[in-house]
């Protein structure tokens, strides 16, 4: 059984205007990036996975549970979703309390919740600020708080909506580390993202959404080699790959590391 099974998924906000028009796919443990231009239906898709929206046709099974039949709060035990804007969730006056809110909601006892929260804060590098007010932190640190508050719930599936927005290089590296760490722990990571270079370096599978349908789906290198198809979805390849093509290098290189390896061996 895959972690998530999506079967013939259709969805529309207003009748007759389908945002998602027939999506069937399985999501399993490979870190997966969902890319596509604005309005392609990415956020809607993620909200459907989480049960925040219900399919107008078709089914989604998360860990075997049909999202139509379970409440969002129930599904929260299995899937965490980090929202784009951390200000949409932060309400406690202490960092640690904010992070512990989710774990306690899904039935972790006080001790486990505290332990998981400290661990999560450690991971995002905010362990030494647990007694501060989240609103005294910068926006990028608040984003890390919102990530920690989901990680502490220790769900098998973690979904990020645009994690790299408002993050500088250091923040992006940290998020990259977190995603790899989650993968090593055997968790499924799904991300909606516009940063192609970040995807190239971090994710193993890429799904391209275009007009409510899946345009491409497969290994990162495989998907990014379809330059023209990506263009039809208003997407570009990672810079390293564009460079490799301009230099007529035969192999489709994805990352800076791959490029330097190739260059040194030349």
């Amino acid at each position: 059984m895959s972690e998530i099974e999506v079967r013939n998924l259709h969805f529309s906000y207003t009748k007759g205007q389908e945002v998602l028009a027939g999506i069937t796919l399985d999501l399993n443990l490979r870190p997966t990036a969902i890319i596509g231009q604005n309005g392609a239906g990415k956020t809607t898709f993620v909200k459907l996975l989480k049960g925040l929206l219900k399919p107008t046709e078709g089914d989604i099974f998360v860990k075997g549970y049909n999202t139509k039949e379970k409440s969002v709060a129930f599904l929260a035990r299995y899937m965490g979703l980090v929202f784009q804007n951390p200000n949409d969730q932060i309400f406690k006056s202490k960092l640690i309390d904010e992070v512990m809110f989710g774990p306690l909601n899904i039935g972790q006892d006080e001790k486990t919740a505290k332990r998981n929260s400290l661990e999560a804060l450690d991971l995002v590098g905010l362990r030494n600020r647990i007694n501060e007010n989240p609103y005294d932190l910068s926006l990028s640190d608040r984003k890390l708080v919102s990530i920690a508050s989901i990680l502490a719930m220790d769900t098998d599936i973690v979904v990020f909506d645009e994690p790299t927005i408002a993050q500088d290089y250091r923040g992006k590296e940290k998020i990259k580390d977190i995603i790899r760490y989650l993968k090593d722990k055997g968790k499924l990571v799904i991300t909606i993202i516009h940063d192609m270079d970040f995807v190239a370096e971090t994710f193993e599978r890429v799904i391209v959404f275009n007009r409510g349908k899946v345009l491409l789906d497969g290994d990162t290198r495989f998907v990014y080699s379809y330059r023209d198809k990506l263009r039809t979805a208003s997407l570009e390849q990672p810079y390293v790959m564009q460079l490799a093509q301009k230099l007529h290098i035969g192999t489709p290189l994805l990352t800076v590391d791959e490029f330097t390896d190739w260059f040194n061996k030349r």
Binding site: L52, A73, F83, Q89, F91, Y135, M153
Partner: protein
């Protein structure tokens, strides 16, 4: 951008009348029946405003409001019918409860007035774009600041509503139940209202700065981007409406 507006697109003659004339009309439908204090004047204004609503083609939008108000107006009939201080002549009785003619007539007058006010205010709201209304008032000398307060509220409320939706989603995603028993809903309140208040404060600060970099508080006389729709007979109509008001006041004192 979504705005909170009751405006209905249309090209009736009423839509073409300028906002100020419509405001004066609203004032007159409120004032004259009160000044005259007769059932006939209230009835006349109900007919006039109702006709205008039909001409404007917004009667379908007005009916639900009338319906809703009627529920409240039933209490007026009961209270005035039973307890109006001039009650003398019994009209009918339900068991031992007696309704009086004077009270019922007075209730009728109130009801007619309220319905005509609803009609004329609806006429203003349904056939005027909020932005046109505010701009017309600012041109007449309303402070641009106050004008901005009016028009911004119409934009901010839908924006806050969508923020609240996102917040609800974010907290549900962290396992918070928002449905179910009363106590559960109460407990869900703080995690929802906290971020809502803070993010609207942040929004307000940013809005203020965005306005200030565009010289919102500049003391120079402001010009207008939109020429605005000019209505040929605005002056004539305004003068005649105000004359009607004056005539009614004079009539009242003559009698």
């Amino acid at each position: 951008m979504r705005t909170l507006s009751l405006y209905q697109e249309g090209d009736s003659i009423i839509h073409k009348i300028d906002p100020i004339t419509k405001i004066i009309f609203v004032l007159i439908t409120i004032l004259i029946p009160i000044i005259m204090g007769t059932l006939n004047s209230a009835f006349a204004f109900l007919i006039i405003s109702l006709t205008l609503v039909i001409i404007a083609g917004v009667i379908k939008k007005v009916l639900p409001i009338v319906g809703f108000t009627s529920i409240i107006l039933v209490t007026v009939i009961i209270i005035q019918g039973l307890y109006y201080f001039n009650n003398r002549t019994p009209f009918f009785a339900i068991g031992t409860v007696v309704f009086y003619k004077e009270g019922l007539l007075y209730a009728l007058e109130i009801i007619l007035r309220i319905y005509s006010i609803i009609n004329s205010v609806s006429l203003l709201m349904f056939t005027t774009k909020p932005s046109d209304l505010v701009e017309a008032l600012v041109k007449k000398g309303l402070s641009p600041r106050i004008g901005y307060v009016f028009s911004s509220v119409l934009q901010i409320i839908p924006q806050m509503m969508s923020t609240v939706d996102t917040i609800i989603d974010a907290q549900r995603s962290r396992g918070m139940e928002v449905e179910g028993s009363f106590s559960r809903r109460i407990r869900a309140f703080i995690p929802l209202i906290g971020p809502a208040v803070i993010s609207s404060l942040i929004d307000t600060k940013e809005r203020a700065m965005a306005l200030e970099v565009r010289a919102f508080n500049s003391r120079y006389k402001k010009t207008f981007l939109n020429e605005g729709t000019t209505f040929k007979y605005a002056d004539v109509m305004q003068v005649s409406l105000i004359s009607i008001l004056i005539i009614s006041i004079v009539l009242r004192f003559v009698h």
